[in-house]
Symmetry: C2
Subunit: 500 residues, 2 copies
Amino acid sequence: MKAYNELIDISSELRNLERTLSLLAWDERTYMPRGAVKGRSEMRATLYKLHHKLLTSDRLKSCIKELNKSSNFDDLDPIQKASLREITRDFERKYNVPDELIQRIAKAATEGQSVWETARSRSDFDMFLPYLEKNIELRKEFAGYIDYENEPYDALLDEFDPGSTAKWIEKVFGPMKKKLASIVDDIASLDHTPGEGILKDKEFPVDTQIALCKKLAEDIGFDFNRGRLDNTVHPFTVGMDYDVRITNRYNPGNITSLYSLLHEAGHGMYEQNLDPELFGTPVGKYVSMGFHESQSRTWENFVGRSRAFMEYLFPMLADEFTFLSSYSPADMYGAVNRVAPSLIRVEADEVTYNLHIALRYDIELGLFRDEIEPSETEVVWENKMEQYLGIVPSTSAEGVLQDVHWSAAQFGYFPSYALGNLYGAQIFDTVRKEIPSLDGLMSQGDFDELRNWLKNNIYMHGRKHLAPDMLKMLTGDNLNEDYLIDYIKKKYSQIYGLSF
Amino acid sequence: MKAYNELIDISSELRNLERTLSLLAWDERTYMPRGAVKGRSEMRATLYKLHHKLLTSDRLKSCIKELNKSSNFDDLDPIQKASLREITRDFERKYNVPDELIQRIAKAATEGQSVWETARSRSDFDMFLPYLEKNIELRKEFAGYIDYENEPYDALLDEFDPGSTAKWIEKVFGPMKKKLASIVDDIASLDHTPGEGILKDKEFPVDTQIALCKKLAEDIGFDFNRGRLDNTVHPFTVGMDYDVRITNRYNPGNITSLYSLLHEAGHGMYEQNLDPELFGTPVGKYVSMGFHESQSRTWENFVGRSRAFMEYLFPMLADEFTFLSSYSPADMYGAVNRVAPSLIRVEADEVTYNLHIALRYDIELGLFRDEIEPSETEVVWENKMEQYLGIVPSTSAEGVLQDVHWSAAQFGYFPSYALGNLYGAQIFDTVRKEIPSLDGLMSQGDFDELRNWLKNNIYMHGRKHLAPDMLKMLTGDNLNEDYLIDYIKKKYSQIYGLSF
């Protein structure tokens, strides 16, 4: 079909521009010299402009129109229909939203981030407030141009987790909050923590950490023939289909680099295992941000922080860091699974993490439903921290000003982090049923069966299905918080000697 | 003027695409994983396509037409006129030459290179001959679409050294060949070589070489805030205006890395010192390939292989490589200036280098003037090697098959290498007159005055003038081989104790 081939040609060109922008982003955060910033932003602007022009072109518009004629549409196979769905969403978002609004948002986001940096360093919420108000107002205007499901916030969610809605998330986040908060309470009431002191005041040479991380990535199956591992300030992954690059940071005072490596390699393997048949097509990408996060969390937590994985990991650690040899895998398992309510999201453990997200989600939803005023966010934040985690930030920097997202006019992104943990737990429950020998394999450092399962069931399929449908197909169930809750209860009751 | 502003907008977009292609090329040869080749060629193809579309657009065509109206043209200042001249050349080359011919050339070049690699490894000229014939035929067809000065070969020269013609080059290459060949004869008749054995069978650890190269680059004035130095197989420089990257290779058995560093840093400083006012405009680039080469050769040879430079360099070398401490700067000066006729161009010394180029130029000119048949190139090559250098290759691999250029349908490029040495010597003669204290400064490692002279007189001005005009402005003289010949005679008569 001529119109469909044309659609694929356009999609491939768009994808090549996206790959190029990804390489620019990677370079910026790894090797680009400091003085190159201005030139780089000019290069990026030209590429974005060409991408925008192609995505909103009459050429694409008439392809979409042609393919939506029922005589044509009925001839499309399911993957072709999914491709049409995906490129149509991208097209409409760019075509319907006026250019000048996009530019106003970009400008406000740049200013917002700049002021936020200063405001955070001074812990001054009032300084940031006008910019927060502006960003919310602009995003409401933006949502007005999108054909959303039920409410404006859905238009924002749809950008990051297509197919999900506030109503759908709410049904799960509601009970999740209560159940997690109760577990946190129980653990907080104990006066012991497992593995305390093992990793404290020790020195872990960075070169050794880098070598270990490289080995971990190879062992779990990250393909260095089509990928790289480099150093950076904030770890990230860029996927360019044929070429997937992960980055990591190292601190000689701890071994968190091992877990950020597993996290990024999880993202990386998702990208590396897409079916080459789908490269450059509109479905040739991850299901959603939430799904992407589910795979990074799978390797970081469900695999990397499991008891079985520690049987494989610990001997390598004790070999390199000989002061650990007086401990056992069980001790180390405790040490990497300590739970403690903390103020900062990015430092949160498996149990408390989703509460940090729930709090942000509550506020975002309140703001976009006009139930919370921007000026109230700081107080609401403090109240909810107290309610969910039993602690209260003493400064704005440790509270409402800690994340960059709102200053950059990014609303609707936070839920992806929590969805990642929920999707991940639910999928891993299926994995455990389908691979009964999983613990035995992991303890021997054999990850092939697991990775192949994930590849055959998730990675290779790209965005053929929307997240809610994909989850149902994989697990036979709708999104349900109990998979995560049960996983946490089982794991942490054993570690903490509690019964929840 | 509206049309001129439009022209500058288009030029900036083109330049941003070129910068992006440069970054892709840099990445390909430094950090790109092996498995990414296919994806990278897709990315490149999309960017080239967009570049071509913009360069041949009606938008640009009407700008050029508008600005050429005498009422408009007369209002343009000299730099604006130069900008119009430069973008018009690029436009006409792409607009007049049919797309399908460009594609046939690209295809033939790819096939040619692939066959050439095998043919060279087997030293089989006959295997390569049909591809050589094809490439020549295609380039003749190509030249037919270009509005060349006197003869088809001028159309090819104009790509690399705008403004130069075969007639213009011939006038200088003719006497140059004779004079150089006679010097080579004189030196070959001697039975001693200076500095022999100093650098033989020694070990120069690569890490030390890298550190020395970094220091050399800093000392001569390469700006690491807007540049990088990385490892690669074949050293090269990419310029992206705000961001200029050089690469180098290291062999523990010798210190040629120091000279390839000076060469690339010379290219790099030329790129780094363009006037920012010219960034993105049609004149915002180097004068010509020959001029670019003149600046790399300046730092590699006229500076780096000078007696004064050795006073600065030798103490650092003796410090790192202690086995050198029994020698003197004078010994080392001899060692880095040994002259010996050799078969391979890229290994040639200052004296013999231009003879390698003259030979290739003779053959190219003969081919495009229909005075030599492609099938005769191997024999002509051997005869000319005998005539110019007194040696004859015993295999095609060491002879006519040694360079990649012809297999890639690149004709007209070789002269740039020799022009670089000629321009460089002529300009450096002026430099020495204008900076009488140059040797004193160089021997103390002070290169500021030299670099600033080159910056103020060459680097910053981009392509405001064509090479022949620029040379005349800089030196008060037309291109003249005697500057190089006199430099060589003076230097090597002293080193070899000869009088030429």
